[in-house]
């Protein structure tokens, strides 16, 4: 299981209710239900991936976060997870609002557009960056709203969203992000993992 999922699962307490938004093949869901005894649901847009999840007996529904989150009642989950999909929404702002409505705590991970390789690509090549985590060309990318760890920090502060914890992931390296090292971590992190609360 990838490092990102290991970090997410550490955030989650046993016997909690979890919603994995954009659950993909259900790898994290399977891990959580086996190891953390959580009551877990998934939402996934790809039919192929939904079928894979259902084949594993996972409670996953086909749908997308922008239209289908509204069916979940307020605070009906202890944790809602959104892994590396925020940038693909038409309206990330509304999705975050809905995640915070549905979940008591929200875990969001974002591919960091502030990473130095991304910055260098734009600075020296003058081209939109294409990296391991962001392998698309500008004309076929599903990522409509890229942001940096700093951007997401600012967003949460402006919206009055509490950031409980932020983890930086750079390759296999895990570290904490705080106000004091934010500028630096924004330069070296490939991924930012945020634990939020309204």
């Amino acid at each position: 299981m990838k490092e990102e999922f290991k970090i997410i699962s550490k955030f989650i307490e046993e016997k909690s209710r979890v919603l994995d938004v954009g659950c993909g093949d259900g790898i994290l869901m399977e891990y959580l239900s086996k190891n953390k005894v959580v009551d877990i649901r998934g939402l996934e847009i790809s039919k192929e991936k939904v079928k894979k999840c259902l084949s594993k007996g996972l409670a996953v529904i086909e749908g997308d976060a922008e239209n289908d989150l509204k069916q979940f009642p307020d605070l009906s989950f202890d944790y809602v997870i959104l892994s590396q999909t925020l940038q693909a929404f038409m309206s990330p702002e509304k999705v975050i609002e809905n995640l915070l409505r549905v979940g008591k705590k929200v875990i969001v991970t974002i591919p960091n557009f502030g990473h130095w390789k991304v910055r260098l690509d734009l600075l020296f090549k003058g081209e939109m960056p294409v990296t391991k985590n962001l392998p698309y060309q500008w004309y076929n990318t599903p990522n409509l709203h890229m942001c940096t760890i700093q951007d997401f920090y600012n967003f949460c502060n402006n919206k009055g969203i509490n950031i409980y914890k932020t983890i930086s992931l750079n390759g296999e390296k895990i570290s904490n992000i705080s106000n004091s090292n934010l500028k630096y971590k924004n330069l070296i992190s490939e991924l930012g993992i945020f634990l939020l609360e309204k």
Binding site: K47, S55, G57, A59, Q71, F72, P73
Partner: protein
């Protein structure tokens, strides 16, 4: 008629109070089983048939000599794997394959009951079939499943008996029969009732039946089970065994010939009055209304794990109506999975060889069964 004698059936002695207010007792419920019930009695699956189905879901139907209606899905190694599970399927009351219905002979008049049969509902059908659990001494079913009207029975079953099935698979169905579907059913009923042989439903099966009306009803309904794209691809404007139009009203087009054939074979195996009663039961089905407009309440106390399935080209029970069930379940935090299967085979998809559909159900059931046994979930 030796096959009829081999037909399995239970006699339900105790009184069943129907939604219409009437009571029935000492009535037969015909059923068939596939596979073996294990010692723990935890591997039973109750399958509900659709409008024109019967208890013969798998293998060869001994009465019609044709493949069972869900032969693609039920059998050894199939979606409902009878090497592993004990599959039970009953003919609904109101039906015409051995269960109590309008074709049942009245012991006093020695004639079919006909339209003196009470109007029944999906709720009545499900309550009658619940007796099978007592008969087989099954405390809890592993699963209930069915498509179309079978799916409606799944929903009603879980609502009536919230802790009697671990898994529920309603397929291509609705919680509330739509105006469009009532309209199509009414069209079928009018075709039957307009046939002079119908005689207010008191025709005698041995002599003249309203076959023409029933055939037209079947033809009209059959169109609704297919998709426009599916029809176009299969038939297009192809002509039937002729090179030119004949400028008459014979079946010039293959689609006409196909529908006429579907109508003609249907009347050999189905009773016109049963068609009236069962379509009426579907029209009356409104689980949402049963719970004062809040479908979630229908499933309030259930621990059942739901798997809802719809098909992209099904315009009779479209994805939106299946999704309403999912939404109602999510509103109360129920355990629910949902997928819309991509296919151009229309509403009939659930009966056909749609590999994605069949394999997903198979894997879902097998994994869930072993999860329950291994992890006690």
């Amino acid at each position: 008629m030796s096959n009829l004698n081999k037909m399995k059936s239970i006699l339900i002695e105790k009184t069943l109070k129907l939604d219409c207010g009437k009571e029935i007792s000492n009535f037969p419920l015909a059923y068939e089983t596939y596979g073996n019930l294990n010692e723990k009695k935890d591997n039973a699956i109750l399958i509900f048939h659709a409008l024109t189905g019967d208890q013969y879901a798998s293998g060869i139907n001994p009465i019609t000599k044709k493949e069972g209606w869900w032969n693609y899905a039920v059998g050894p190694g199939k979606s409902f794997d009878t090497d592993k599970f004990f599959v039970i399927c009953a003919n609904v009351i109101g039906g015409c394959m051995g269960s109590y219905g309008p074709g049942t002979i009245d012991p006093f008049t020695k004639k079919p009951i006909g339209t003196n049969f009470p109007v029944i509902t999906i709720n009545d059908m499900v309550n009658a079939q619940y007796n099978l659990l007592d008969y087989f001494k099954i405390e809890k079913l592993f699963a209930v499943a069915g498509g179309s009207m079978g799916g409606m029975q799944v929903l009603q079953f879980v609502s009536n008996f919230p802790n009697k099935a671990r898994v529920a698979i309603p397929i291509a169905c609705t919680a509330s029969h739509s105006a469009q579907n009532i309209a199509f059913n009414e069209l079928g009923r009018q075709a039957i009732m307009s046939d002079s042989n119908w005689k207010e439903g008191l025709y005698d099966e041995k002599s003249t039946n309203p076959d023409k009306g029933l055939a037209v009803a079947r033809m009209a309904a059959h169109i609704t089970y297919l998709s426009k794209q599916g029809l176009q691809e299969k038939f297009g404007r192809n002509l039937q065994e002729r090179s030119d139009l004949k400028f008459g009203f014979d079946a010039d087009f293959q689609i006409e010939s196909y529908l006429r054939y579907q109508g003609s074979v249907f009347v050999d195996r189905f009773d016109a009055n049963s068609y009236l009663y069962i379509t009426r039961a579907m029209d009356y089905f409104d689980l949402t209304k049963q719970f004062n407009g809040n479908l979630s309440k229908a499933f309030k106390d259930t621990k059942t794990k739901f798997f809802v399935i719809s098909f992209t080209s099904d315009w009779l029970y479209p994805t939106s109506e299946n999704k309403d069930i999912v939404i109602a379940l999510n509103a109360i935090g129920a355990d629910v999975g949902f997928v819309e299967i991509k296919t151009d085979k229309g509403h009939d998809s659930f009966l056909l060889d749609v590999p994605d559909f069949l394999s997903t159900i198979k894997n879902y059931l097998n994994t869930t069964y072993s999860n329950i046994n291994e992890r006690g979930i």
